[in-house]
Symmetry: C2
Subunit: 416 residues, 2 copies
């Protein structure tokens, strides 16, 4: 394992209180998958009747656990979630799927839950066989130790090159009954020869059916996890899951079957908040990052076009290195807008850094103050706004971080 990276300068200053969610318990253990002296496996135990939804990587080369989950999520029910760090079980062929299955069967036996309701994820080195026999006997201990307040420790056990665990919480009300949403995420990049993996798990006590969870999760992911980028390298293992134990029904919350139900308004807002919070934390732990960058594109032909333009800016190495150099280089933003391939009008384009308009009607803004702009670029949070001039109503916001020499060092130097 490479040496531990220093804590990201954009790490949160403190962790929120995480109210336990009725119906979920967590435990962690050191199974010795790869790391020494730290936990590397987490188990989330879910009460019977827990509904589940999931969004998985679109990679054409997904990991074995992603294949497993994509198959099992069709049932919409979950009883346990097992995540290990230290090995991604990706690009491990038929044997990889066998090891995933073996892990699930051990968890099923220990918990007494049907194997089809066990969900899995692995994150770490790619291409190395995962030895699932290391989990033998571990589940019994995990079950014995599972606690409702173990979320933060669970988030820590699934870290790889992350410099801090990522958790978030929010409450919502459904017909006057308070429900809780707790989430965790991991993801930063890679130091060893493995794949950057983004994993996120969200839990709630709200009594919401799987189909409704799935619809809300897919929609909410668009504006959060699908709106961030560290280095444009989609992982083979990206997984986002939402589990609803339904325990709040005991306190009078109505059971809800469809995502269109108006009683979900508060829940949807809270879910958006939790996912966005976690997604931002992933960016803030981006490898080598120094600055958190928000890019908002307006005036595009459609929301899809706006997002494509925003992603083109966010993934441009030249824009990202300019931000690292504290340079308000709007010329590179123009280039990134141009290469996105979406409709834009060069002669009506406008660009802002924070509140400072640097370009207007296809020209440098004549009132633009270089000194004020330089001062703005020294900040930790950089907001870039672009009106792409296409005259449409398409708007999108994405988040990214700067590209520093440390990113290259983390991803290139570790073997030398």
């Amino acid at each position: 394992m490479a040496q531990a990276a220093a804590l990201s300068p954009l790490a949160p200053k403190s962790y929120p209180d995480l109210p336990p969610i009725d119906g979920v318990r967590f435990a962690t253990a050191a199974a010795g998958i790869k790391y020494k002296g730290r936990t590397d496996v987490m188990l989330a135990l879910l009460d019977k009747g827990t509904q589940a939804a999931g969004v998985f990587t679109r990679s054409k080369c997904p990991s074995a656990p992603v294949d497993w989950c994509r198959q099992k999520i069709k049932g919409g029910k979950a009883r346990a979630l097992v995540v290990n760090s230290g090995n991604a079980n990706a690009f491990t062929g038929r044997k990889g799927l066998d090891q995933a299955k073996f892990t699930a069967s051990l968890a099923s036996k220990a918990t007494g839950a049907p194997i089809g309701e066990i969900f899995l994820a692995s994150t770490g080195v790619i291409g190395e066989p995962l030895d699932a026999s290391k989990f033998d006997g571990v589940f019994e201990t995990l079950i014995a130790n599972a606690r409702p307040d173990g979320l933060l420790e669970a988030a820590r056990a699934i870290m790889t090159t992350d410099t801090y665990p990522k958790v978030a919480t929010a409450t919502a009300e459904i017909s006057g009954v308070e429900v809780t949403i707790n989430g965790m995420a991991k993801g930063a990049g890679m130091i060893e020869p493995d794949l950057g993996t983004m994993l996120s798990y969200v839990f709630t006590d709200a009594p919401i059916a799987a189909a409704a969870l799935q619809a809300m999760l897919s929609r909410s992911a668009q504006g959060s996890f699908n709106a961030i980028t560290v280095d444009s390298d989609t992982s083979t293992s990206d997984t986002l899951m939402l589990f609803a134990t339904g325990a709040a029904a005991k306190r009078g919350a109505p059971k809800i079957a469809t995502a269109g139900d108006r009683r979900l308004a508060s829940f949807k807002r809270a879910l958006d908040l939790v996912l966005l919070n976690l997604a931002h934390q992933v960016v803030r732990d981006g490898e080598g990052c120094r600055k958190f960058v928000e890019i908002r594109v307006e005036g595009a032909a459609s929301a899809t076009a706006a997002k494509a333009i925003a992603k083109s800016i966010a993934n441009s190495p030249l824009v990202k290195t300019a931000i690292a150099g504290e340079d308000a280089n709007w010329g590179r933003i123009v280039a990134a807008v141009g290469k996105a391939g979406e409709k834009a009008d060069r002669d009506r384009l406008a660009i802002w850094f924070g509140d400072i308009r640097v370009a207007h009607k296809g020209l440098r803004d004549m009132t633009y103050d270089e000194k004020k702009t330089s001062a703005y670029m020294k900040g930790e949070k950089i907001d870039i706004r672009v009106d792409c001039g296409a005259g449409g109503k398409g708007v999108a916001t994405v988040w990214t971080c700067d590209l520093t020499k440390e990113y290259v060092a983390i991803n290139g130097d570790y073997r030398s």
Copy 2:
């Protein structure tokens, strides 16, 4: 201007002899656009009857000279080419087009050629107004000094952050008559707040009509300039032009009207060679590069799919940093194949570094020798071959360079 970068370690050891092409003369001057103590404008004078073809950036925010050329190339005729460095005349609004027009009118007056047969390009800072009055009187001197053997000096005058001028030459025969193709290119990236600009101009004495030139140029660009990437940032100013003076007709070469003419076989091969040579030189001058990387993808559903997968690998920051770190990180190649969105079969995927097969049938190759592979990765030229396992006949090759800390330094540090 930022300090001159050290010569790229991948620069050619010597320049080829460039036989003059009948009907083309070159001259350079220091017009003081931005740089001090160096040439910054070149003029290519083309004899009457010269046929022209061009390929321009697909950016939706093209520079004013690109707008100009795209309009004028429809006529298929050229008498002069004017290129300046130090200012890109991009994102300069209506005034930018006025300055381009003014430049062309000065050149037209001085040469006596119709304004519609004057071609332009500008490369350098973006968003700064170009003061075309600096060209006033310069053309008269340029015309007086124009020489058939001035190609290398011309290539030098259009450099911005390039560390060496890029030229190439080849001969071909048309019905037994030898014709010559000479070309130049510029492009490396950016140091000042401007756009990375790729410019390339190719000249021949072959008597070939504009429509045939255009068809051949578009096709040949696909496998050369459209198959390279330094940092995935498409410029606003990319321009590739081919000029045919037709002077070889005096020596008995037949006039050729269509690209399908069989007598062009040798010419097409030579054109491909010249474009590929120039495109490789651009990559070898990629900002901060240490290694020249060839990526060949086989077994894809189509040639288009193969190219998309190859570009996905070539543009992956994780693949590029791994190569900089001399790490045969095939896991990152799997991830890049997966994210390309094209058909691939993870369980039939195979990957080679040079002749060493590191992955096979969706698994690490069991015979893979870590020591041998590490030795291979220390070389200056890295060949990566991927069979994406889709079982198709689609094949594509692209070229790129590694991503080093120097790239970040060049593009982020220069203001600090």
